[in-house]
Symmetry: C2
Amino acid sequence: MKARRDVFQAIADPTRRAIIGMLAQQTLTLNTVAENFSMSQPAISKHMRILTECGLVIIVKQGRERHCTASFQALEEVAQWAQQYRRFWTNRLDTLEQLLNEEE
Amino acid sequence: MKARRDVFQAIADPTRRAIIGMLAQQTLTLNTVAENFSMSQPAISKHMRILTECGLVIIVKQGRERHCTASFQALEEVAQWAQQYRRFWTNRLDTLEQLLNEEE
DNA sequence: TTTTTGCTAAACCAAATGGTTATACATACC
DNA sequence: GGTATGTATAACCATTTGGTTTAGCAAAAA
């Protein structure tokens, strides 16, 4: 068990978001994931560890392989956080327009 | 104009998410924001700069004051990214359960 | 005009981040 | 058994991050 990772920080990295996108299609071994990026296997290993630490990926050991499966539950926190502000950005008058109007 | 900041990275920091939460209530001067945190005003200035660089906050100069207003448009990208996976986590059988079933 | 206020900018720092290469190790294959 | 494969771990490194303190400056107040 590691320090509970912050999911917001986990998805801050574009490589990790790409990994999540790949695993959304299907479960993949760690090596297979690594082949799709132009970086070393240990680098992907590290990203995968961060993703598992915040619950975004579950790893099942099968022989010498590591089968990585995305688990999206943790994304609910992100979706909810962003969505709470939805009413603001869907307003016909967005913030910038409001500011301009106020200046008149 | 600064380097276009990544909104995912901007919201990775809990202090910045808290700032956004405060500004959702009302426009505040930079100093007023800083008073609500146990860190120096230059530190808040830096956070605010990052927030403006990705369009999450708009700063209007008024005399010597800086009036900070949240602009939530940029959050749409985050909401949409997270929501595209919504169908996964709302499934009655979540990923973990599926894995357990497969092992039987 | 002098002083205070709100903020920026600069210099600095420790710790975290994201990568590397090299090594080790367990599993699978021949 | 010996070799190849999949992955983890360690040591290392440069850069970024998130904070600090100090100084400077323009606007407001006294």
